[in-house]
Amino acid sequence: MKYLAFATGLFAATAAVAETPVLTIYTYESFVSDWGPGPAVEKAFEETCGCDLQFVGAGDGAALLGRLKLEGKRTKADIVLGLDTNLTAAALETGLFAETAVSADYDLPVAWNDPVFVPYDWGYFAFVQNADLANAPTDFKALADSDLKIVIQDPRSSTPGLGLLMWVKAAYGDEAPAIWEGLSDNIVTVTKGWSEAYGLFLEGEADMVLSYTTSPAYHLIAESDASKTAAKFSEGHYMQIEVAGKIANTDQPELADKFLQFMVTDAFQSIIPTTNWMYPAVTPEAGLPEGFETLIQPEKALIVPADQADAVRDAALAEWLEALSK
């Protein structure tokens, strides 16, 4: 009798598992890590959705798109989270994404009316420096004229590296090659990814590192260390807007929409600032965490429209390679 009860229980449990819908979200590696937003987001959404939220991590934004292209229509993903506006046009071209009705009252510095992709956070690229740096430059020309040393990331392997490329191009257009030539003697080295560059900066290999205006908030909030600041450049700062999109042939279309809607609510948005260290796309009711008010506020937000990003990117990369290979 006991065995029978046990067997019945087991059967019931199996059935329950089978009935729980699974929502699969592809995202970048640092989102799913134990120190990223992933675990908290999963917990918060599962409390309300009656589903099993599963994250699959793949490199960074560009690697994510690469993986999606490899998988094509057979992809298991219901949602892809972690592309930015440099990638959305290419992502759209795959024909794998579907439009969504989800929208919100975004707190972005630029207007957002993309019918497919929903933004969840954003930030400005910036050079991070020690607060006591003497003669901190206020624009690219001053930086190029100084003998300050900077570490940047390779645009061919890193998202921030590509961001810097777009930043210089958006700010200077045809003058960009001259800016890069001026910067070439300031660049200590170019690294594969953000982690290597930031590590080198913290080790004292350079005076400044390409990162985000929000990076000093990590040191301030998590380490009570106010020694890092971002340099405010008068040309304005290039933006990164991170978005998520629904896969067209998902077997969980309603659940996917539900997640995207959840993504722009406080429950998700309040997790972002101190785990992804970016600005939430919709500022939560309670405001930003204490410490964010100390961050620099760029006067101008620069961004290349998604549909031009590819063309600008290719031209800018050629100029960058040309200027720095001399």
Binding site: E29, G57, A63, L65, R67, K76, S195, G199, E205, L324
Partner: protein, 510 residues
């Protein structure tokens, strides 16, 4: 001799594993795309830096291994183990350690500055070569040390009784050994450096230092041009294969005849001058290799307490993968090495694993697996397999000379005794290869611990390896905790290496 059958099967397996994914990538891309001028520049840079790196590592390893081989001093075994550490460090940890010594605000420049001398700049081709020497000098030194120990003690006794000078011993005994060993060491290091990415880019100081692997990244990420990525991967593999064939042709050693495996005593090297030179060589090498490591350790100790529990979970994952790939690497290597006794070129196949681009290999494997299974479920197996293939070249390079020596010296005796097949392996070859097996198992295990390999495409968020977890910590600003994880990785890799190496040495090195 033992028949090469299983060896050819193992070689075929390796070939299939390397070229199968490539073919799948080509098929998916609908053919190859020809590389552009920038890609060819990357090929040239890769070959230049790999040639220089391998050349200097091998040349420098000769005096270092010679000094180690002919001197006995307390702590010698410990020093030999520690000198192997750079080779098994995760790249980024080692680069940070190296920069703490040679970087802009490193120890060297601080000293120069203090002394009023101009500071030195590490970034550039010389920096890339320096870093590659840092990584590979230990490997080259160990390969030579192994070869030095294969000159039987009896030869040196004979040389001493003939009153040969150090110079004569060098000419008669040591140079033939060096000529037989150097090409093999060169190709392994050349192959390792050819596919360098993080080191070459970080220390190269900019896009001038673009290697083929970076060009592959660009083809994949920027243009999603799988065809061009695959063509570049083929170029890299073929280049290494050609260099390997060429070098193997020149590495035929004649062997030194059999001895009684006594401890080598060197009567020729007792003069004060030679003692001082050897001591200087060893001290300089130890400083060059160990100083960055000391800084890695100090950084790691500072971060140790900040390490979250996940790091220790990741340690177990890495240990299991490492032991699995070590076992696999040894089985494959033993089979291939036995076949290489008949046909030397078989070894070249074993070498290809290390030059196959992780990105293209990973992509190909992913394309193969994806239609049938969830790639994350196979993450363990795939990582273990790829790590085994990557470790294969070192294992072969250490194992083949040992087996060849045994066959040369005892082969005819064994033939007369009718010792063939399994019995020959068990009673002749394996016991005599014990030292080589232990050392190469140690290398394979340690290497597999530190390798990120293709894990990123297959990664399962719940079961990260230790290097991946370390990168995640860095990616989340936790550089100190990451340094702690780096130290844990260093200690566990060295520990594994030490255990296997010790098992191999047994008590023979009394």
């Amino acid at each position: 001799m033992i028949r090469g059958g299983p060896g050819y099967a193992a070689a075929a397996f390796v070939l299939l594993f390397i070229f199968g994914p490539l073919i799948v990538v080509f098929a998916r891309a609908g053919g190859g795309t020809l590389p552009g001028p920038a890609d060819w520049a990357a090929v040239r840079f890769s070959v230049t830096q790999a040639t220089l790196s391998a050349l200097f590592s091998v040349i420098l390893a000769i005096p270092v291994s010679r000094a180690l081989a002919r001197r006995k001093f307390p702590g010698r075994n410990m020093l030999i183990t520690l000198l192997g550490a750079p080779f098994i460090l995760p790249v980024i940890v080692a680069v940070l350690g190296l920069l703490a010594v040679f970087g802009r605000s490193g120890i060297l420049n601080s000293l120069l500055d203090w002394a009023g001398l101009p500071t030195v700049q590490i970034y550039g081709l010389h920096g890339v070569v320096l870093a590659h020497i840092f990584f590979n000098l230990p490997l080259a030194t160990r390969i030579f040390l192994q070869a030095w120990q294969q000159i039987p003690a009896e030869r040196f006794r004979l040389a001493a009784s003939l009153n040969m000078s150090a110079g004569q011993v060098l000419r008669r005994l040591e140079i033939p050994m060096i000529r037989a060993t150097a090409p093999g060491a060169f190709i392994v290091i050349f192959a390792i450096c050819l596919s360098s990415f993080t080191v070459a880019l970080t220390l190269g100081g900019g896009p001038r230092a673009t290697t083929v692997e970076l060009a592959i990244y660009q083809a994949f990420r920027f243009d999603f041009d799988l065809g061009r990525a695959a063509v570049l991967a083929v170029i890299q593999t073929v280049l290494a294969g050609i260099v390997a064939l060429f070098a193997l042709k020149y590495s035929r050693g004649e062997g030194f005849g059999a001895g009684l495996d006594r401890v080598v005593r060197r009567w020729d090297a007792q003069s004060a001058g030679l003692r001082i030179t050897d001591a200087a060589v060893m001290i300089l090498t130890a400083l060059f290799l160990l100083l960055p490591l000391v800084l890695v350790v100090i950084n790691g100790i500072n971060g140790w307490a900040k390490m979250p529990d996940q790091v220790f979970t990741a340690l177990w994952v890495s240990l299991v993968i490492s032991l699995f790939s070590t076992a696999l690497a040894l089985v494959l290597a033993l089979a291939i090495a036995l076949a290489a006794l008949h046909r030397g070129w078989v070894e070249v196949i074993g070498l290809l694993g290390i030059v196959s681009s992780p990105l293209v290999l990973g992509t190909g494997l992913f394309l193969i697996v994806h239609p049938y299974a969830d790639p994350a479920r196979l993450a363990f197996v795939v990582t273990g397999l790829v790590n085994a293939l990557t470790a294969l070249p070192f294992v072969l390079r250490v194992l083949i000379p040992s087996l060849r020596g045994s066959e040369k010296n005892f082969g005819r005796l064994a033939d007369m005794l009718g010792l063939t097949g399994w019995a020959r392996l068990r009673f002749l070859l394996l016991p005599r290869a014990r030292r080589a097996l232990g050392f190469s198992a140690g290398l394979a295990a340690a290497f597999s611990m530190g390798d990120l390999g293709v894990i990123t495409l297959f990664a399962d968020p719940g079961s990260a390896t230790l290097p991946l977890q370390m990168y995640r910590l860095m990616g989340a600003f936790r550089m100190e905790a990451a340094a702690g994880a780096g130290l844990l990785l260093l200690v566990s890799s060295l520990g594994l290496f030490w255990i296997f190496d010790k098992m191999g040495r047994g008590d023979v090195d009394a």
